[in-house]
């Protein structure tokens, strides 16, 4: 469904991605794990069309998308939940959700999606008139995911959804991600919390300093001594 081939990307002088190649299969959860600064977020931003790439190709459903504007990529169904949630702090919960459906025209269906979000995350319904910035970390993560779902993604990119959350909340979030996959959405899950990600995922890539150093089935990665030592502690 998504294929990166030999993708390079730079921040001025920093060579952040050095020939990343990976594939995400339809209706699966693919994990991208790696230490801080390995290039995980850069990879997702490149897929979303925010971070320009200097060489390589990114194909979604067979079509190259690396030259498309971010909104065009969203229109095709690739939606990202960025690292640190990035809720709009001075917009209400409802307004945040409305923006997730920015490209959708049919008002009634958008309202239906909103109801679905409230069903999936009842706490958001309670808080719907509250400013996004007043939510707790866990609530903000739920809002960020709900907001992305408002765009009806075919591929959902999740950047460290467990970051800074209490273990109980992490478990809750992971449960939600599974549910989203079961609804037929393909997921690319970036995590530093390799344990949680690989337990949930089907397949995984390990990246170090902008390169893929390992790839395997999630179960195999969990048992891989190198992964165990470096990421599972």
């Amino acid at each position: 469904m998504l294929r990166l081939e030999d993708v390079d990307s730079h921040y001025r002088k920093i060579h952040a991605l050095k020939g990343i190649s990976l594939r995400v299969r339809e209706k699966s959860i693919c994990c991208l794990i790696g230490a801080n600064g390995a290039g995980k977020s850069t990879t997702l931003m490149a897929i979303s069309g925010i971070q320009p790439i200097s060489s390589g190709t990114i194909k979604f459903g067979g079509d190259p998308i690396q030259k498309l504007a971010p909104e065009e990529i969203v229109r095709r169904g690739v939606v990202q939940v960025p690292e640190g949630r990035r809720i709009f702090p001075d917009l209400t919960v409802k307004e945040n959700l409305v923006l997730g459906a920015y490209l959708r025209k049919e008002k009634r269906k958008v309202a239906e999606s909103m109801e679905n979000s409230f069903e999936l995350f009842p706490i958001l319904k309670e808080r719907r008139e509250q400013m996004g910035g007043t939510l707790s970390g866990g609530e903000q993560q739920m809002l960020a995911i709900a907001r992305a779902l408002m765009g009806i993604p075919r591929l959902l990119l999740l950047d460290e959804p467990s970051l800074g959350l209490a273990p109980l909340v992490v478990e809750q979030i992971m449960g939600i991600i599974r549910r989203i996959r079961d609804d037929g959405v393909t997921i690319l899950l970036v995590e530093q919390n390799a344990q949680a990600a690989l337990e949930l995922g089907d397949y995984g890539y390990v990246i170090e300093t902008g390169q893929v150093v390992l790839e395997d089935k999630a179960q195999a990665l969990l048992e891989n001594p190198r992964v165990k030592e470096a990421y599972l502690g």
């Binding site: 909104e71 969203v74 640190g84 709009f88 702090p89 917009l91 920015y102 910035g133």
Partner: protein
């Protein structure tokens, strides 16, 4: 007793004049503040859009013979386009450049447009022909004792209030308005939502410039004087109003404009009319010194 009445009616008259003028400052100030809100740029050329508005309506009425109200509406639309073009030509290429580069470009555009107007219309002060609007405009609409409000003032104030309400509705009740607020808070995330960030910025320039151009026509009417450098002083005052209200805050710009208009008229009336312009500078400096976030501006805390 007599003089006490005189005193209070003088005060009320000044208040009426101040509010009318303040409304116009507010119209200009929202343009500064909205653009600052979305791209953190002080668009120094905004005062020139206001000046061009005054001249465009003038040319339409005197040269092309277009009726005033039609010219007024056309001017507003053309100024909206000017705003979009200004952004596209001058600022968009510098979106990722250091902020100082855009600021210098803004000053450059301001000087360029002033000189362009000078070439087209000359340096002489022009005035709208008195017969272009109904004579009733100069008659008092209501007068209580010594205090009166002309139809012109009623017209200016109602236009101002009407467009402030429209602006409020756009910003808070429409999707594009919600997108404007989102872009002002976080451009990358806005793009991740599928928002065309550049289109939203264009829209912001269009709205701000439309209101600026409208203010130009209104002030041209009110003072009956238009000239190529009129945007400079009005621009500084409106900018002071935006700073006073809290730069980036639209209600702040409205409040700041009102307060500044009243302060200016009162200062001119009670202290000395020579201080008229100085009051704006004093207000701006005082705000920057004592309350940089303005009356209703606030620091937005980052939450991880």
């Amino acid at each position: 007793m007599e003089s006490l009445l005189d005193q209070s009616s003088l005060f009320l008259q000044q208040l009426v004049n101040g509010i009318t003028l303040g409304g116009v400052y507010a119209l200009i100030a929202v343009g500064y503040t909205m653009v600052y809100g979305v791209i953190q740029l002080i668009n120094f050329a905004h005062g020139e859009i206001y000046m061009l508005g005054a001249f465009l309506a003038y040319t339409m009425v005197t040269v092309l013979g277009i009726p005033f109200f039609a010219a007024f509406i056309l001017t507003i639309l053309i100024c909206a386009c000017f705003g979009i073009i200004l952004d596209f030509v001058a600022y968009r290429p510098l979106r990722n450049a250091p902020r100082l580069a855009a600021l210098i470009t803004a000053i450059g555009m301001s000087i360029f447009l002033q000189n362009l107007a000078l070439m087209i219309w000359g340096s002489q002060i022009k005035s709208y022909p008195r017969d272009m609007f109904p004579a009733i405009f100069l008659k008092p609409a209501l007068s209580i004792g010594e205090v009166s409000m002309t139809w012109m003032q009623v017209f200016m104030l109602s236009i101002t209030v009407l467009f402030m309400v429209i602006l409020h509705l756009i910003i808070h009740k429409t999707k594009i308005g919600t997108a404007m607020r989102a872009v002002s808070q976080d451009k990358t995330t806005s793009a991740l939502m599928g928002i065309g960030v550049n289109r939203v910025i264009s829209f912001t320039f269009a709205i701000g410039s439309a209101m600026g151009g409208m203010a130009g026509v209104l002030v041209g009417l009110y003072y009956n004087a238009i000239f190529p450098t009129m945007g400079y002083i009005a621009g500084i005052k409106a900018f002071a109003a935006a700073v006073l209200g809290g730069i980036g805050s639209v209600p702040g710009a409205m409040l700041g404009g009102g307060v500044l208009g009243i302060a200016e008229v009162m200062g001119a009336g009670y202290i000395s009319s020579e201080y008229r312009d100085g009051i704006s500078y004093a207000v701006m400096i005082a705000v920057i010194l004592f309350k940089p976030s303005g009356l209703i501006g606030r620091q937005i805390g980052e939450k991880v």
